[in-house]
Symmetry: C2
Subunit: 517 residues, 2 copies
């Protein structure tokens, strides 16, 4: 089963990645990301944790039904209820996997599970057996493996392999491992467990070592790596898909260690995930950051001009960084627009194409040249605003150093118009205040960021806002929602983002709490 | 010389870090960062590359004169002119170091240097000898070491150690190394060169392996690590100071591998560098990101509530993350304000305290509670605007979905008022257009980002703008400048940032081109 050169990429952007604070993707957005992951060529998509909510179950089902190519996995604790729900969610997939887990470290077993080691072994094997009744492809993980007793890990992995697990995963849940010891632990487990399975690694970046630990795992014989696009995920995030893929392509391929990822889709995948999650990619991010292939020092610039490889170990074209292309202009019609969307790989309903076309025409009035990256931003904004209760009809603002910033908004809710105005500390504050009055939803602003979609003075502003409610002592638990808005005007983009977050908060409070490892 | 537990931190935030596109720190900002690095307890501050410009020389001189504690290093190629200039710049330091380098990989020697290996060895030894005439503490680096012939590295390092180099540095200039081979290379070199020196490593994050490579170096006997705060630097950046320091503290200390960094200053250092460089820290950044200690999944939140260590391997207080504290209010006077600045570790002139106090009073009118983080932002904004030609007197804007965004600005230049107005695609665009008309400086907007300094609806907006001029074929080389602006109103903050970038562009075009490795 262990073929050299065949390192599988298990993408958990939609599960562990989506657990980043403030991210709440709707069903359409999840399907859009899953389709792009299929285009990128990942081997497995972990589509979600079905038991955590009905919305999550629906999203996993939708991905299992529509996305072809990769294995579709659903996460489940070893509890029967979790496994049954995961099985139901992935049932219609071309190839389905159930990924089940239980914690094996002393601290987790004692403080969290309140189970004895023997009970954990029995529960783990029982969970795998139950999962195998539904599917042939079952993955099992020991949560917090790197802080677990290695001998106990052997026992649990052996029991679960014998119960039918085909992939055994070693998660460094808290980002604690060092590469050398992580590789040694995997070697020890492969040797001691001795079953014919695919070994997998799942690493976190708390000490900046996620990629190095994954690499050490592969060098020790792991043939599956669990990753997230842009390295998002709990806390400091998961192993970044683009970094480990390009590390293997650049340095591992010669030794037969490579993936089958189509690296030219990396840049677009990164942009899509960044836009939909609201997690901007920092300029100094490896592979996909704006500076990853920029050379600043005179000596470096001179070197690259003489011979590119003096300071570049990868070709930016190989990760799909070809610069943005102008695809449409002010006079482009509906047909050219629909064709451009298709070329970009979007598969939208006629209705969505029409909505996106209207936004495009409004934008084209302000901006002469529309690039592929602009188009992506518009479409993604439309996908995001799909389930909205309130819609922004118009906004008007004024302010300055010597006058109070004022905003007036007009919203539409189920065919009814609502007008409101407010003053604020700044114009965005005023606009958000007016929306707060109009919707009656009071939420705390947790973070606010704007970036430009492309360069140039007429660039689209892309605003991300995180709102939160609850979290008081004795009150309901904290709920966060991320909203995005795109416009050439930052105040309008902010109002759109704020309203989108308000719409999602309303949506979120209708879905159940639980989520996981 | 090799003491267990004594891993030195060599900070290159002000040299390699400042080479990130768009960063251009002025002298005051550099001194402020150097003072904070001293407070953090770094062993060596690489203050700059003196030969690259007169401004750079002046900044290194200012740091050498005023900052006490760390060794102050200046970078120099092995050329006599470089070394003489570096020696002059660091002359007044309490403890001075000259760091000299030459490339040793075949591709660099052939394509860039056009020198034979024998010429490179002679130039390297000559450079070190010359540097030793000025100072006892000389560091030598083989640029692009990880793509150099190991036997040739032995030859060059042996020659430079015999010529008097006391620290030998192994840079992975292009971020190409894998941890195991990097550690093995260092072990081989230590063994073969066999001189009594401190071995150092300098790593880059192009494949996401900077921290892991640095760690592998330390495990192989390196006792100096070259780092930058927030991992900034050429391309994907340098090894991040906070990540390697906390990786050693969390996992290395038990084996006697630790630094003497005061980790409780990490969060503030990260904020200061982020604010002054305009490089935001992404939420999923290890150690200092907003999510680094956030737990999102229900299972994780439950675990942490029962027992913190189930999902946390570090205590956030140990890196100085104690939450922002309210330090001043609307009625705080000049004395309380000055005291609060002193408590935060700022050492400002009376004039600067007065300027910052005026900004504080204007802010306090809009915002009731002023936290330590707000104060930092105000002071840092004032430090940044020190050498400005144009000053923003007032701004007034209006716009909306059904009216053209319009802005009117009033600027002051050498006592003279300039009024201008413009319409734009958005209000920020209109404000920038008005400033462009008023100053006559035409530049391309390369990037634009806003983040909120603290949470809450009355948060300060912190805008960063990168402007560029030149770069056309046959024209002058490209010049970029970063501008920051802080205000409760995002359009005002943007206008301040734009004007600050315009002021810096004017300043930049007055300084010379060259910069380095």
């Amino acid at each position: 089963m262990d073929e050299v050169g065949d390192v599988r990429i298990f993408d958990t952007t939609l599960r562990d990645g989506e657990q980043s604070p403030g991210i709440s993707l709707n069903l359409k957005e999840k399907v859009e990301i899953a389709e792009q992951l299929a285009r990128l060529g990942v081997d497995v998509i972990e589509a979600g944790f079905p038991i955590s909510s009905d919305g999550e179950t629906e999203a996993v089902k939708a991905i299992a039904e529509t996305v072809r190519g990769p294995v579709i996995a659903g996460l489940a604790r070893v509890d029967p209820g979790d496994i049954d729900r995961a099985a139901e969610a992935v049932a219609t997939a071309e190839r389905a996997r159930i990924h089940t887990f239980i914690a094996t470290s002393d601290i987790h077993m004692k403080a969290k599970l309140r189970m004895t080691p023997a009970e954990v072994v029995a529960a783990a094997a029982g969970g795998v057996e139950r999962a195998r009744r539904y599917v042939d492809d079952v993955e099992f993980s020991c949560e917090d493996a790197t802080r677990s007793d290695p001998e106990f890990l052997v026992e649990v992995f052996r029991a679960t392999a014998r119960a039918g697990a085909t992939t055994l995963n070693l998660p460094d849940t808290v980002g604690y491992a060092l590469p050398a010891e992580f590789g040694a632990l995997l070697s020890y487990l492969r040797e001691e467990v001795g079953e014919d399975v695919i070994w997998s690694v799942h690493t976190h970046d708390d000490l900046g070592l996620a990629v190095a630990n994954a690499l050490a795992g592969v060098e020790a014989g792991a043939r599956q790596i669990e990753v997230a696009v842009n390295g998002i995920g709990e806390r400091a995030g998961n192993c970044s898909l683009e970094e480990i893929v390009m590390a293997l392509r650049t340095r591992g391929a010669a030794r037969g260690l490579d993936t089958t990822i189509n690296s030219r889709e990396i840049a677009r995948t990164s942009r899509l995930v960044s836009m939909l999650t609201g997690y901007a990619v920092p300029p100094n991010k490896a592979i996909v950051g704006a500076n990853a292939f920029a050379h600043e020092a005179g000596i470096h610039q001179h070197g690259v001009m003489v011979e590119r490889t003096t300071y570049e170990i990868m070709d930016p074209h190989d990760v799909g960084l070809d610069g943005s292309k102008i695809v449409l202009g002010k006079h482009s019609g509906r047909h050219a627009f629909a064709q451009a969307l298709e070329d970009l790989g979007f598969s939208l309903s006629k209705e969505d194409v029409q909505k996106a076309f209207e936004r495009f025409k409004a934008l084209a009035d302000r901006k002469i040249r529309i690039t592929d990256v602009d188009l992506e931003a518009i479409v993604v904004d439309e996908i995001a605003s799909d389930e909205d209760e309130y819609e922004l009809v118009s906004i008007q603002v004024a302010g300055g150093t010597h006058m109070s910033p004022t905003a007036t908004v007009r919203l539409m809710r189920e065919g009814e118009l609502i007008d409101e105005s407010a003053i604020g500390d700044g114009m965005i504050d005023a606009a958000c205040g007016a929306i707060q009055r109009a919707t009656g939803v009071e939420a705390r602003l947790e973070s606010f960021s704007v970036s430009s979609v492309t360069g140039g003075i007429d660039a689209l502003g892309d605003v991300t806002i995180v709102l939160a409610v609850g979290g008081d002592v004795d009150g309901p638990p904290i709920r966060r929602a991320t909203g995005r808005g795109v416009s050439t005007d930052v105040v309008e983009a902010s109002a759109r983002a704020y309203l989108s977050a308000v719409n999602r908060l309303a949506h979120l409070t209708r879905r159940a709490p639980e989520a996981v490892a």
